[in-house]
């Protein structure tokens, strides 16, 4: 049942219209936003200077000004500086959860695609069981078992993305394994592992990369949600969700400690979604497999 559901959703998602008009602007918007983000994460701290945790209790909740373009928070910390350091954290979050999710999901999916039917269906059933959990519920379960903390939150987020990679890698493998060149490799005596990892994986890389880009937006939103709930990154880490959770207490007196981290999240997620959609459209023929 869920299998069919996922297949149907995948089919539907592929039919989702990208931004209307030309396809390229979307790719451009995404690439520019993501490029600016990477540059800001690399050089921002150097340009701005200062310690993101440095408190200045004489200048708490200062509105945006020339010296503090995004204002200061309830501890007098510069919000722009914290946002830039938060960007580094965000990139790290994406990297960790993608590496874990794809690192587990892709090899399992590749093997399922080549495995005998009974093993394939066993793996897919387990994957479907995990997929039946609403994302954040599974994440909360994992965090409640392992304890709060950014790393645990990232593992939790990776946990609910694993089934997506398993299914995608498996379907790609199934579609490729009967192609002529795979049969030729088999005739030449190549081992199953060699065929899977040296020949099928490179051919499946593009759709997997598109999927990774598209799920990066979800990672950013989920990590911020968990941190906002106090179950992910802990203060004083300048994680965007944590910053908003801090800013929440100042609402009524100052809105900027909440406003700017939310804008940063929106910009990052819009950039990643545009990039993912744009890449999907560009490589449509390969992601349709």
């Amino acid at each position: 049942m869920i299998t069919m559901g996922i297949q149907r959703l995948a089919r539907l998602l592929r039919r989702l219209p990208a931004l209307p008009g030309a396809k390229e602007p979307e790719l451009l918007i995404g690439a520019v936003l993501c490029g600016v983000a990477v540059l800001a994460a690399l050089f921002g701290p150097m340009l701005l200077g200062g310690d993101p945790a440095a408190q200045d209790l004489f200048h708490v909740l200062q509105p945006p000004s020339w010296s503090h373009p995004c204002g200061t928070d309830a501890f007098g910390r510069d919000i722009l500086l914290r946002l830039v350091y938060g960007l580094r954290l965000t990139i790290m979050e994406i990297a960790v959860s993608l590496v874990v999710a794809a690192g587990v999901g892709v090899p399992v999916g590749l093997c399922a695609g080549m495995a005998p039917a009974w093993l394939d269906s066993a793996i897919m059933t387990v994957s479907d069981v995990v997929f039946a959990f609403p994302g954040l519920i599974l994440a909360l379960l994992v965090v409640s078992l392992m304890g709060p903390g950014l790393f645990h939150a990232l593992l939790a987020i990776a946990a609910f993305s694993i089934p997506v990679y398993i299914r995608l890698a498996r379907n790609l493998t199934v579609s490729l394994r009967h192609s002529v060149w795979v049969e030729a490799l088999q005739v030449l005596g190549a081992s199953r592992a060699r065929i899977l990892f040296l020949h099928i994986l490179p051919n499946a890389a593009t759709p997997l990369l598109v999927q990774a880009t598209l799920s990066s937006g979800t990672v950013v939103l989920s990590a911020a949600s968990l941190s906002f709930l106090g179950l992910g990154a802990q203060p004083p880490l300048p994680e965007w969700g944590t910053m908003m959770s801090d800013g929440r207490n100042a609402l009524g007196a100052a809105f900027w400690p909440c406003l700017f981290p939310g804008l940063a999240i929106a910009a990052a997620v819009i950039g990643l979604n545009c990039l993912g959609d744009g890449l999907r459209d560009r490589f449509d023929s390969s992601s349709r497999r």
Binding site: L12, G21, I137, G230
Partner: protein, 305 residues
């Protein structure tokens, strides 16, 4: 119909797998629920008695069978936090979550379906572009951020709406709007995609050729056929709605199941966490099954083996 029955039959099996996974995960923990429940100052004898009473002294397999037997009777154990039965705690909170989630879905459908139909009818127009850009932004915003800004503007500054909590209809406005954002964006995009595809069919050309206006063509002929993907997206996004509800309920201090879960995670109240998790998975599976049924009812092509 037989496929539907087969899927319905698979549902208990999947639930069994999910419950076993959750049960084993929770019981593999280093901590001792009896010690947690009795409190830090409890003497060893009390903890031992509690362990026997909760059945924690038995092997894991026996505990799981015992859990299944009680769960079949609606008994999911006792909350470690306040000592009342888990089922009672959940049933008390459930109406609040259902009301909020139902309202959010209703809003999403009321805006998403006409919006998507409009965008498809005027494909490429500025209205279409604007709506598509809005859905992209709507799906990229953090719900709790929109919630906080909404509270700041409408509750703190303008004082039009209450800040948080549940009460009369005005308490529903902000949380339901926030929760509806993501499904609204998805439904709008799906309706547009579905309607666009249907609008290319021959029978639509016939309808237009006999002189019907574009709007009548869409509402009377196209929409009915374009809605199957919308039903699927609504059902498959129930998981997303539940995830969103957890955060939204916590921000607005809404007394629903989502906030109950967050509070229980903070207190490590495992019986409640287990109960809420199983309930939400069951909800998602049932919604999928329902969507299959609805689609099979409206789309004869989907009924095959």
């Amino acid at each position: 119909m037989s496929r539907l029955l087969r899927r319905a039959a698979a549902l208990p099996l999947i639930m069994l797998g999910v419950s076993a996974a959750v049960f084993v995960a929770i019981h593999a923990l280093p901590g001792d629920p009896a010690r947690l429940m009795a409190g830090p100052q409890a003497p060893e004898s009390t903890i031992m008695a509690l362990r026997v009473r909760l059945g924690l002294d038995q092997p894991l397999g026996a505990q799981y069978l015992h859990f299944l037997e009680r769960a079949a009777h609606g008994d999911f154990g006792i909350s470690l936090r306040d000592g009342s039965p888990v089922s009672t705690v959940i049933v008390e909170r459930l109406p609040y979550s259902l009301a909020l989630g139902g309202l959010a879905y209703l809003l999403a459908l009321l805006v998403g379906v006409p919006g998507g139909a409009f965008a498809a009818a005027r494909e490429g127009s500025w209205g279409d572009r604007l709506l598509m850009a809005a859905t992209l932004v709507g799906a990229s915003l953090a719900g709790f951020w929109v919630a906080l800004l909404g509270m700041e503007v409408f509750a703190v500054r303008l004082r039009w709406l209450p800040l948080m909590g549940a009460g009369d209809w005005r308490h529903y406005v902000l949380p339901a709007l926030v929760l509806s954002l993501l499904p609204m964006a998805m439904i709008l995009r799906m309706t547009r995609a579905g309607a666009r595809e249907v609008l290319r069919q021959d029978y639509i050309r016939t309808a237009r050729a006999k002189g019907l206006s574009p709007w009548t063509t869409i509402t009377r002929h196209a929409l009915r056929n374009a809605l199957a993907p919308v039903v699927t997206v609504v059902a498959l996004n129930l998981g997303g709605l539940i995830s969103g509800a957890v955060v939204t309920e916590t921000v607005f201090d809404w007394p629903g199941v989502g906030r109950l879960l967050v509070d229980s995670v903070r207190y490590r109240d495992y019986p409640v966490i287990q109960g809420v998790t199983l309930l939400s998975v069951l909800g998602v599976l049932l919604a999928n099954l329902l969507a299959e049924g609805v689609i099979a009812r409206f789309d004869p092509k989907a009924r095959g083996a």
